[in-house]
Symmetry: C5
Subunit: 354 residues, 5 copies
């Protein structure tokens, strides 16, 4: 996650539309699963990756082809041929460093979104790219690896709970995007909790580690921003029904999703502002402690330096020093020294140094 960019240099010089997988290989085997349903029927089967042409024709109401693992270029290529996808779309599916976007083609719409997965231990999150092809009565979803996040949607389809079974492929797309966006809330929730912990820590006990933690949070907010900001536009395009693939009835749900994305953006901005303010607090707390230290040093030094001078004075070995022989000189020197110390302390008191 901490890498700003993934290796793209392997592609330089290749003709446009060359299919090369960019990113980690996160899964061993590619799995393709087909969910077909109408309001009354439901079917689920595992597709043999060597017989993709079996997929056609898609007759019943709605089909969801779920592809888990995208590092096998041949499978993606075959799938592209079966469904007539543009080579540039396939290129984008394989390149996992894309920003979220939406592209309308003649018969289908291509959507890229970013899934954030939060790892509690390292208090870090990673980004996965989710691609969707929305056709007239089907969706193809591409995930980088086997993932559990859509399990609730699957369960609802299997059991016919909620609206999913009653509505078209566009509503299914909404459901999948909804899962991704809801997941942002989870990540943000955990981040904001951690930031609040860091804030309390900062107020009670600021330490040099704090600045590194703030830096880490700032980076995370940057990546969050990068993942969410373009999604706003994606939702806007979907809501405006620019293709006939989105039905009127789903548009109201997309608007709701759009609101959620805006809300996430605002929370990200608020957290960034809070982080800035925390940095100010931290820097001023450093200055304050330095001030504290300086004051103590100055007080000790200021009190004892003159006293040390006095005792040095009467440590001189001159033969002719009348004071040395005066009987009451020793207690008098004590009185002088104590007076000096008291005077100094009252001066500091007046300066409000303690």
């Amino acid at each position: 996650m901490n890498k700003t960019m993934k290796k793209k240099s392997v592609k330089t010089g290749l003709p446009p539309g060359s299919l090369i997988h960019i990113g980690e290989k996160k899964n061993k085997d590619v799995q393709i699963r087909l969910f077909s349903y109408t309001e009354d029927n439901f079917e689920e089967k595992l597709i043999d990756i060597n017989k993709l042409s079996q997929l056609l024709p898609l007759k019943s109401k709605v089909h969801w082809i779920e592809v888990e693992g995208i590092h096998d270029v041949d499978i993606i290529k075959n799938l592209g041929e079966v469904f007539g996808l543009h080579p540039l779309v396939l290129e984008d599916i394989l390149n996992t460093d894309h920003r979220p976007k939406i592209e309308n083609y003649e018969n289908y719409t291509y959507i890229v979104a970013k899934l954030l997965l939060y790892y509690k231990k390292e208090s870090e999150f990673s980004t996965e790219q989710e691609s969707f092809i929305l056709g007239e009565n089907y969706i193809i979803s591409f995930s980088e690896r086997k993932t559990e996040i859509y399990s609730n949607v699957k369960e609802r389809i299997r059991q016919g709970v909620g609206h999913t079974r009653k509505m078209g492929a566009d509503y299914l797309l909404y459901s999948l995007l909804d899962v991704i966006v809801d997941n942002y809330f989870n990540v943000l929730e955990r981040l904001s909790e951690e930031i609040e912990l860091a804030e309390d820590e900062l107020i009670s006990n600021p330490s040099p580690e704090t600045i590194k933690v703030l830096h880490k949070f700032k980076r995370q907010m940057l990546y969050m921003h990068k993942a969410v900001w373009p999604l706003r536009e994606v939702m806007g395009v979907l809501e405006r029904n620019e293709t006939t693939l989105m039905k009127e009835a789903t548009s109201i749900y997309i608007r709701d999703l759009y609101d959620h994305v805006i809300q996430i953006m605002e929370t990200v901005e608020t957290l960034r502002d809070i982080l800035s303010s925390m940095l100010d607090m931290y820097l001023s707390s450093i200055s304050n402690r330095m001030n504290e230290v300086m004051k103590i040093l100055t007080m000790i030094a200021t009190i004892f330096i003159p006293l040390t001078f006095i005792v040095g004075l009467y440590g001189m070995n001159f033969r002719y020093m009348p004071e040395l022989n005066w009987p009451f000189m020793y207690p008098v020197v004590w009185v002088i020294m104590i007076s000096i110390a008291v005077l100094m302390l009252s001066f500091f008191k007046k300066k409000k140094w303690w």
Copy 2:
């Protein structure tokens, strides 16, 4: 209030439109009150929460159904069924972490606003979510808890003072929003008073506490901004009369409200700029005091260090040190030391250190 986000994770994985209350349970019992009035008549009654269907049909001119307490999901659900509200609207009413927004549906308009309540003791404010359903001749208002803020509007309806009784449900909506916006002025007034107090404190006696107070004010301004900024758009949509629910006559009042919201936004921005400038002042005042302390330390040390060297010099026990036996050496040393001190002091005077 200090939490950036409310717990939403409980919702992950549920089908869209699932009704779950997000937020604190702020009230024991849900109370529903119905105000019905025409210019000549006025009726007020408490509705039995188990017989919500009684509410229909709404015949006379204007009806205000005031719902206090939204944690009882069943009541909201029933109300939604009676008035034919979209499940997503009900979901938003129950989720008290929404940003202000307006949504036009076929027969009604849904509006979310944020009510700020200021607690003088803690000098903190809390946010309550107020939702409104504006129908042809009725308004349903949802408050998080029993609240007194609409009492003036109610009194005006009861006694027929002002325009309220003469105008429609849209004017009633305006009156309720006006109460909410007026309340922002109160909160801002108190905040700006406190900020000015902090500013005076900062000039006369800057302390490490100041930075924490500034941080708190900054956060409050962020939340204020978050509550007010989207309201601008809400007012804009209302003013442009995008639905037939808003009458021409009310539009002039909405414009006035729009101006108030802009004015609040500008004051928030001004206060944020002033807080930034205060932070600069504070940081420079720390630097200045550090400078002060350093100067005193340097002066004391610079004067006494050479003197201590001299007295140490004649404290050496060499057998062959001619000065030790010279009769006038002791007073001569005094003269030398006083000259050094005077020289140093005049050097500092020249440097304008005191």
Copy 3:
């Protein structure tokens, strides 16, 4: 002026359009003066505030009703009734904390502007609210107190100098706004002079007072910005002739005024940038002086601390210390100490510390 907001809380809960004066009572008596003129005639009279209905009908070409003092709510209310002004307009006239704005009503246009008055002694400025009602052939101007700023316009009307007498009420409105905008130039001129003085002071002799002065200037720029920025929009609306009240011929003058407002805005922005840059300079000059002080302390300490160690060394009272009895040891110690001092000084010289 230094208050960000005026007390508005007195209004909370009142029905919209309730007339309450918000702001200081700046004048004892309200004075209303009527100027009526055509190209050939001119008449000026004081209106009895109890017989406002006398004002109608307004027959001859142009009428200027100048109201000085707005704290007497009854007078404003009567005037509103005579001229058929909307209650919200009257409310805005009485509330002196409004931002500049323009509102078109059926028969008249309502304009709010801010007059800045600069007080040289305190080097502070105060804001007065000027409201204007532009009707078909009349203007009503509302000032917070008796003011001299329009005296030139009046004189030109009285003596028939310039275009004023030849043109309509819209040109008169332009003339009055022109006075207000010209006044901004005066205030800016004085502020920029003071800022340049502060800049010279900052370069020659930076002191802790400087930061407070910079803070004051920043606040003043904020208020200036707040007063001028919305005026841009006001001018834009006037120039676009959105009502029939503004004649084509006056539009060219309004465009000129628009340019002036833009110019003022840019100068305000430039001054804010200069103030930021001055703050940077100040902070770095503090750091530099601290550096200076540290260097002196370090040099003195570094030179004398080893010397003091040496003289302490031979002040020890061990019975068996061979050096104490060597005849040339005392001068040798002097040579050693002087060598150390010279070495140190040349080290500092190399480090460019002096």
Copy 4:
């Protein structure tokens, strides 16, 4: 140049369109020169400032009336009457503190631009205001003083080099504006050279002077921005051919000029960013040096303070101090002290202090 504003207060209270010269009187005598040319003919003559009506009628193809010096209000007024210029245009020509702008009137277009003149000695630039009136077949140019910058354009006209003689007054306007914009490149080139010098200086030898130089550059960039930014809009209006005065053929040249202005803006922004970054570098270099100084002080003090304590210890005069009589105590003390010093130094080594 260093003044943010020129004195405008002399104008307060005068009727709009009053002609008063604002700015320095930069020239002794006003000179008016007429260039008339077709593709084949060319004529150049000095105009008697008392017989301006001689200028009309303008028959042959293109005329350029060059006015050098604008402090003589009467001449400008007469010229305005001869060519039927609006009083507000004349007022703007005389007020040399205007921002660049373009105004379309019925028969002519009025353009204001800022000429920057760079003085190498003071490394400062000054601003001159250039005004242009573009008519059907003539241009009137107003310069604040006698200037050489148009000499190349004149030479091209005189000798019939380039397109100028073949094209209309609009192309002449382009040629003059091109000279002004090219001059910005010169000024920017010198400024960027100086900034790069300052940058090298900053890296090799940062001094308190640096911050003042940075402050000066920042101001210059502000003025540059102020002069160039509105020119963008001027070029845009010219390019869009909003008047019939600009021919299609010239539009392509104006687009080129527009590109240049954008390029200048971007370079100004880049330089401002570089200046900010330089300030950061400077501030951190101060902190670093302070750190350096502190470390040296701390090392010296930390090594010698314990040693001085030890030698003081054995300088005490107690009658019963067994160590004083031990024969090997003196060398033992030396060993102890050297060990302490070595230990300290290795500690600092570990801390990477030297």
Copy 5:
């Protein structure tokens, strides 16, 4: 590269459209190469720079005239005459300091782009200007020097791989721009790697060198921004098919390129934000280390200064000092001194200084 501007002052005063080469002479000889191809045929030849008129007429499907080296003004001029290019276009080709732009002329489109070349040794990059003329069935490309970057495109044309041979000149333009944009990814990849290295370095071992490295990165990001930002607009114009030169079929590829440019912009912005955050981290790490140093100094001084005072006290030579003769005074003094040291240390412990 480190120069913000190239010398343009040589052009001041010349008539518009004067052809002068601005920039380094990066190549000895100018080489012009012609690639002509249809789907079935392919021809490649070197053109004699003295017989440029041979180039016409261009019959077969697509022609690519590749010009390497632009310092020979005559060749460019001849080429311009042969293809009927506007003098301003030729001027822009020769001026290598242009920002990326697109200009539509009647028969051709002119495009400027910036090629970034990264030099690993100096970890610096240089900018080359690439100009393209897109005609009905030809492209002319102008490079500043002999370059290898298009070799892949050439190979694909020669061998008929990919779509290039099947499509028109517009697709060839896309292929060339694609090479340039892909190259940005390479440069960004290396820069982001280096920035991450610097970040690790900053966290583990911050040094004064760091700030200079950050400054260098910031400058590079500024130049990157300057090269890429205007390209966004170029792509936008190409995508919107504003001329008939761009075919519908290529538009989808241009959209892909547009996405890449946006992605580069966002990465540049992210890196700039990270650099800012790194600067904050660095500054706070300086402050922290200063704090560290101060604490050690203060602890040593605070412990030993009082002890040194005590030993000085009993080094005084008064004849009447009773303590000096008490037999157990010496060990008692030791006890007192140790107690003071322990007390001090526990005080520091409480303050969490170690």
